[in-house]
């Protein structure tokens, strides 16, 4: 027998197609454990003196994904129980657990105390629930009273750190593999800020790890992994690796990450650091709007805290000077033969039209 339990609504670019990536769904197994353990704790609280819940208390409880509904993406999670012959006498405790979890999330979101709402050992279970949520994403839960509770990476971190000194997130790191221990199946990833971090990799990724090592100094890699961070978001440990993907030597997000390391004064004691948040914005915009089959540019910092993309095509040089604060660019095309300026125009890179104009210019020049 199926009963409606929760309808989390996923908000973010990854869910715009009314679908939910498997990598996000898989860490929702964590909420089942959280609900069961919370239900047991609430039951024991109500029945003072009981050390254990009754036998079979959680046997009938399981969460199933029944459908993906419209609205960014809504996961329909139903709970199943033993069926009509074996009515689920403990059902109310799971509903109470769900409501208590929402109460805890709401308290954390509003900066209120969660003391007494859940014990510490249960708060730590949030570490396994929502790991794959990215900075710009959130999950919304509708309450019975019409209200909405929002859960995101920040709230999750707040809850986990109430009882721990570190928390885990699923991340994509860019860098170069500088060391592989094929016997112990560990590797060292040199991040683009120069910091090195080590961790284990599964045997099936050994070939990719060794290939990446042989390309050290030439091409970066993208590593899907679980990392451990502390209160201040410092990277403490590479806990596990699920994918190693070689990147183009001109990969734009990787280059932006490198350029973001520049400090004020980088150019002959002048030269401003990249505008705060500007590199992250451009990285996302690039991945979302720049065609995968278009030629990648070389990318350099500008003295004013922006970046300049440069393409060398057959007969034309193209320069796009990007103002990261204004999210706009000046596109210049000039003759490689004579150095004469052919065209100059301003592009609004905060609009899809600006990116289309850039793509069109590259397309025309490449023919």
């Amino acid at each position: 027998m199926k009963t409606a339990f929760i309808r989390p609504r996923f908000v973010g670019e990854r869910f715009d197609e009314h679908s939910i990536p498997l990598e996000v769904l898989k860490d929702w197994a964590g909420i089942e454990t959280l609900v069961v353990e919370t239900a047991k704790w609430l039951y024991r609280q109500e029945h003072q003196g009981r050390v254990r819940v009754p036998r079979g208390f959680a046997d009938g409880f399981a969460l199933h994904l029944s459908a993906i509904g419209e609205g960014s993406a809504v996961a329909v999670l139903d709970r199943t129980s033993g069926g009509d012959l074996f009515p689920d006498v403990y059902a109310e405790w799971f509903d109470k657990a769900r409501d208590r979890i929402f109460e805890v999330i709401r308290a954390a979101a509003n900066g209120l105390t969660t003391d007494g709402l859940l014990p510490n050992q249960l708060l730590s279970l949030f570490d396994k629930f929502g790991r794959s949520l990215r900075e710009s994403e959130q999950v919304e839960f509708s309450l019975g009273d019409g209200g909405v509770v929002k859960y995101d990476a920040r709230i999750r971190k707040t809850l986990v750190l109430k009882t721990a000194s570190e928390y885990r997130t699923e991340e994509q790191l860019r860098g170069e593999i500088s060391l592989v221990d094929a016997e112990r199946l560990t590797l060292t990833l040199k991040l683009l800020n120069g910091r090195k971090i080590s961790g284990p990799f599964p045997r099936e990724l050994r070939e990719q790890a060794v290939d990446a090592l042989s390309n050290f100094g030439e091409s970066p890699v993208l590593v899907d992994c679980v990392v451990v961070r502390d209160h201040s978001d410092n990277l403490k440990q590479l806990e596990s690796i699920s994918r190693i993907e070689p990147l183009d030597p001109l990969d734009v997000p990787a280059r932006l990450e490198s350029l973001a390391q520049l400090a004020d004064g980088w150019l002959d004691r002048a030269g401003l650091a990249l505008s705060p948040g500007g590199g992250t914005w451009l990285s996302h915009a690039w991945l979302n709007h720049f065609p995968k089959n278009a030629p990648l540019p070389y990318l350099y910092a500008t003295p004013e805290g922006g970046v300049q993309a440069e393409w060398d095509l057959d007969s034309v040089s193209i320069q796009l000077e990007i103002d990261l604060a204004k999210k706009s660019g000046v596109l210049l095309m000039s003759s490689k033969g004579t150095g004469e300026l052919q065209s100059e125009r301003v592009l609004n890179l905060d609009s899809i039209d600006g990116w289309r104009a850039l793509t069109a210019a590259l397309g025309q020049s490449g023919q």
Partner: protein, 131 residues
């Protein structure tokens, strides 16, 4: 025997090198340059000495030295002239001041950078890492 090229030497900031390619900005005067791009006269100083002066005496960062020829500067419609400084007798400038727009300046700078790329590095210190 062909006459040796008269080269104008330019230092390259580490942030303006990616995968060995120099940025066009290497030959673009910045606002503080007042449209006069600093170079060293290659007839008066060797690339390695020029680099040593720039990074050692002046304490600035350089990935190495590239150059354009005086004839290439002229072909671009630009002029250059010696501009000795108290601490650098070899200093010279490429003059972009007759160009009316930033777009024109950047286009010419891009053309000069292409010439320098084709010529390759004249000097690179062994340990410098690009950004």
């Amino acid at each position: 025997m062909a006459e040796k090229e008269h080269l104008l030497l330019r230092q390259v900031n580490p942030a303006w090198v990616q995968n060995g390619r120099i940025s066009s900005q290497t030959f673009t005067p910045t606002p503080k340059d007042d449209r006069l791009l600093s170079v060293d006269d290659g007839r008066l100083v060797e690339p390695e000495q020029s680099h040593a002066h720039f990074t050692g005496t002046r304490g600035l960062k350089s990935m190495g030295v590239v150059a354009v020829a005086n004839l290439e500067v002229a072909e671009a419609g630009l002029a250059w002239r010696p501009d000795p400084l108290p601490d650098s007798a070899t200093h010279a400038v490429i003059d972009f001041s007759q160009l009316v727009s930033n777009g024109q300046i950047k286009a010419k700078a891009s053309w000069l950078a292409e010439k320098a790329r084709a010529r390759g590095w004249l000097f690179q210190p062994p340990a410098e890492e690009p950004v």
